[in-house]
């Protein structure tokens, strides 16, 4: 019995070892080399010293003599291969969600990853250069007060079914989104247009009252509710895409019927070839597209419910051409010889904050808020605890956003924090007990909350009570705080991503008490004057100065603690070129226009 037991263990151990070996001793997937070694025949002039016997005065003597000869040698030469496009231009990329409607009027995020490949707006942001370029409109005029925009459309553009693209297609689409019957969740994005809000809210039933006017087939005039110089950039967005009225009327918008393969009519470089809700979407080329012909023939967005965690494995298995790298995988990817080389990163326009209720003691005192900010060791937090996933934030807005200035960066140390707290009446944090609710989605948030708790308790001597909540419960709780104007202390970890470098989207939307997106209940007159002035400033340099000033005021008064700026990381197969993820893409939108696949 004992003997057989031992034999069993040995057998089992061996089997296990074999399985492990099989798993480890795998053929490493071949690395595509851009540099190749070639054997080249070369003619070389060689100089040699030859010993020769010559007869000098009757006696043979050995002399050395230099001779030159021409020989042909074989030489190994390293040449860089000229990239050649692969015969099959197909791309596989991950998609985070594909469930709800992807109709540009009805979606509130679903499909944004690929929609910009289906439709051309009046203008377009070129992701490679981050510049605003002409798309359907060849040029546009802006009235002096930036309230009237006149777009002149290119002549000869066609929809995928051959119908000409006209100003009416934009008018139809915009009014469809604003029509209260459409129940568009993003209609309020268009409220900058005159009369749009009243029409959408049913206060006016006359579409004529909306400031959209078709002058002729190729001219569209838009009147805004107030000055908005950034409107030309706004119209590059999904809500402002033109839509084919005839196709929508023919197939109907119930269940996105008009967008199904075979039904869909687009004016962009691609159409939908296959659409499997909750699975995948395949884009194929729009053969009737009049703009530059893109290289990719077919691109498949594959749904990953948890794409941050899941897409990397599929990439390693060769099923994807690009994948996102989460903080949890970062160390492994960096240490991996092959993956490490493919890793790319980009700082996307996002900041993670802690927010205060600035009306609720003790946080109505800016000194307490500053003390809490200075007690956070951002380097330690980001580089050690969060394993270098993000960049430590010393300013409210990330670099590249207008208003960012290193001059405003938070400086000071724990000693100063202690001093400020003592000045505010809490020496050594005595008598200070703070409740901090935070969300539970993902272990990273918990790590962040616990690290902050430790830093505040250790450096300031205050007592922090963490209150972990399920993410939807937390969201409902925050909403209740606003609706019933209940006081709160501090919220840990509000991450805000803004798709543009437009300062209005940052300062005015986040911190103007009229919006108060971060629910800080903060109102600083000096700051408000600055951002309300900056909003309509048309001189870009002057605008930047105003917002930089605002940033300084913000960080001196500290209604929020900036913790980190988000970094998007991804791996791309070396044979894919042109895939870029600038701030505007929120690290997700894939613009197929510049992408191509090299032979591999």
């Amino acid at each position: 019995m004992l003997k057989s037991n031992r034999t069993t263990s040995v057998v089992l151990c061996l089997t296990l070892a074999l399985v492990m070996l099989a798993a480890c001793a795998t053929p490493t997937p071949e690395i595509v080399e851009k540099v190749i070694t070639q054997v080249v025949k070369e003619t070389v002039v060689q100089k040699e010293m030859v010993k020769e016997t010559v007869i000098v005065e009757g006696t043979p003597q050995v002399v050395e003599k230099e001779v030159t000869r021409i020989v042909e040698v074989e030489k190994e030469k390293v040449v860089t291969a000229t990239p050649e496009p692969a015969p099959e231009q197909v791309l596989f990329v991950p998609l985070t969600r594909l469930g709800g409607s992807i109709d540009p009027s009805l979606s509130y995020g679903q499909g944004y990853e690929f929609l910009p490949n289906l439709f051309d707006g009046l203008t377009r942001v070129d992701y490679t250069s981050s510049k605003l370029v002409a798309a359907v409109a060849e040029k546009w005029d802006i009235s002096e007060d930036a309230t009237v925009f006149t777009f002149y459309l290119k002549d000869g553009l066609e929809w995928s079914d051959g119908t000409p693209v006209t100003a009416g297609d934009f008018e139809y689409s915009w009014l469809r989104t604003l029509d209260p019957e459409t129940q568009s969740p993003t209609a309020s994005d268009m409220y900058c247009i005159e009369g749009a809000e009243a029409y959408n809210k049913g206060e006016s039933s006359d579409p004529e009252s909306v400031g959209i006017r078709v002058v002729d087939d190729l001219t569209l005039e838009v009147t805004l509710a107030g000055p908005r110089p950034a409107f030309a950039r706004d119209v590059s967005g999904v809500v402002y895409f033109p839509l084919p009225e005839w196709a929508i009327n023919e197939y109907g918008s119930e269940g996105d019927e008009w967008m199904k393969p075979g039904h869909i009519t687009t004016n962009g470089p691609y159409v939908i070839g296959e659409l499997e809700p909750d699975q995948e979407v395949v884009l194929v080329r729009n053969e009737n597209y009049k703009g530059d012909r893109p290289a990719i023939d077919k691109a498949t967005w594959v749904l990953f419910e948890h794409y941050m965690a899941q897409s990397l494995l599929a990439f390693e298995a060769g099923d994807l051409d690009m994948a996102w790298v989460s903080g949890d995988d970062l160390e492994r990817v960096q240490d991996d010889a092959k993956l490490g080389q493919l890793l790319q990163e980009y700082q996307i326009g996002a900041t993670c904050f802690c927010t205060f209720d600035t009306t609720n003691p003790p946080f109505d005192d800016p000194r307490v808020r500053l003390a809490f900010s200075l007690a956070v060791n951002r380097e330690q937090l980001n580089n050690i605890i969060l394993k270098g996933t993000y960049d430590p934030a010393y300013t409210a807005v990330p670099p590249k956003v207008v208003g960012y200035t290193p001059d405003a960066a938070i400086t000071g140390d724990v000693e100063e924090a202690k001093r400020l707290l003592a000045e505010a009446g809490y020496p050594n944090g005595e008598g200070l007990r703070v409740i901090a609710p935070h969300g539970s989605s993902g272990g990273e948030w918990r790590l962040l909350a616990e690290a902050l708790q430790a830093m505040w308790q250790e450096n300031l001597g205050v007592t922090i009570e963490l209150n972990l909540m399920e993410s939807k419960a937390l969201s409902a709780y925050s909403k209740k705080l606003v609706e019933e104007t209940l006081p709160y202390d501090i919220r840990i970890g509000r991450r805000i991503t803004v798709l543009s470098s437009d300062p209005v989207n940052w300062y005015n939307n986040l911190f103007d008490p009229d919006n108060d997106w971060l629910r800080t209940r903060w109102g600083n007159e000096q700051f408000l004057d600055l951002i309300r002035e900056g909003r309509y400033e048309q001189d870009l340099e002057k605008q930047a100065e105003i917002y930089q000033e605002a940033e300084k005021v913000l960080l001196e008064d500290m209604p929020v603690i900036p913790l980190y700026h988000t970094v998007a990381r991804w791996v791309v197969q070396p044979y894919v070129t042109g895939l870029v993820f600038p701030a505007e893409s929120a690290g997700q939108i894939i613009d197929l226009r510049p992408v191509s696949i090299q032979a591999h």
Partner: protein
């Protein structure tokens, strides 16, 4: 819901028919109760479908617009009755996060889970039962020990560990199989999910078969069978197996119901377009109609599986009757 152990002589098919009808009628109050409880629990849970603390700033009117669109601003009693009324007419409501309705989700994705589940169950049965029989017949030998170690290991490994291991080994390292996707049951894509689903039930089946066999082997009628000189093979097949299968059938019935409902982890990790994905996603997303629809579906399945098990008992053990 196990049929009584009442030992009355079988009285024919009429009783069985009546038994089935009665059990099916009992489904109605059960389902009503399941619906009511689920409805109350999901509405009592804090946070609604559009309580999204997104990174990106969503328009403030978004929630109101969508609440109105899906009638979530109606009084609760009205929502309760409306859903019930529609469900009785075969309409399980829209999904808040999919263009597909709940009925469409079930029609489109459930067959995938059923196919995969049936294959997995067949694999589990064909491997698990022989392993259990082997272990019982060769009790306290190397074989028994090997089966015990293997099944204990598999029973105690959660499916998400198992499926991730299989993906890492066979898709990433060896690159023999794709990392996920779905091209139908007879494709390379189905191998990893089918195995991951089969291994757990296989292990528990092997363990149940083993213990149940050992119990029966020690019974008097087996000794009698051997004493009367019946060949060992016949003793096992005719007397041991048939009796030993009674508890096993219960396990098969119940795991069948859960396996054909799909596994959240296996379907998510292997990107199988099945219905299991929705069980967790709908709950965390507060997709009320999907939660309700799937809970009702699962309740019906469990009830039917139980009924099936009870009917099988009668076949396996004539002492069991239906009343």
């Amino acid at each position: 819901m196990v049929a009584g152990e009442v030992t009355m002589p079988p009285t024919g098919d009429v009783d069985m028919g009546r038994f089935v009808i009665r059990r099916l009628l009992m489904l109605i109050p059960v389902l009503l109760m399941v619906y009511t409880l689920t409805f109350l629990v999901i509405h009592a849970t804090p946070g609604g479908p559009w309580d999204i603390e997104s990174d990106q700033m969503l328009p403030e009117s978004l929630e109101q617009t969508l609440q109105a669109k899906y009638h979530l601003d109606d009084p609760l009693w009205k929502q309760y009755l409306d859903y019930l009324w529609n469900a009785l007419h075969g309409d399980l409501g829209p999904s808040y996060f999919s263009v597909l309705s709940v009925t469409e989700i079930i029609r489109k994705f459930w067959p995938v889970s059923i196919q995969l589940g049936l294959v997995a169950m067949a694999m589990a049965l064909s491997m698990g039962v022989p392993l259990g029989v082997l272990a019982a017949l060769k009790q306290n030998t190397v074989w028994d020990l090997a089966v015990t170690i293997l099944t204990l290991g598999l029973v105690s490994t959660p499916s998400f560990v198992l499926v991730t291991l299989l993906v890492v080994i066979f898709a990433v390292k060896l690159q023999w199989l794709p990392s996920g996707g779905w091209e139908g049951l007879l494709s390379k894509e189905a191998i990893i999910p089918a195995f991951s689903l089969a291994l757990g039930p296989m292990a528990s089946l092997a363990r149940y078969t083993r213990s149940s066999m050992l119990e029966v082997l020690r019974m008097d009628h087996i000794r009698t069978a051997r004493a009367k000189g019946l060949p060992e093979r016949l003793v096992i097949v005719r007397h041991v197996l048939k009796n030993a299968f009674i508890p096993v059938v219960t396990v098969v019935g119940l795991s069948m119901a859960s396996v054909i409902c799909g596994s959240f982890f296996v379907e998510i990790i292997c990107r199988v377009p099945g219905i299991g994905r929705y069980f967790v996603i709908s709950a965390s997303g507060r997709d009320y109609p999907v939660i309700l629809g799937l809970t009702l579906l699962f309740a019906v399945l469990i009830a039917v599986a139980n009924l099936g098990v009870d009917l099988l008992y009668g076949f396996l053990d004539p002492r069991i009757t239906y009343e």
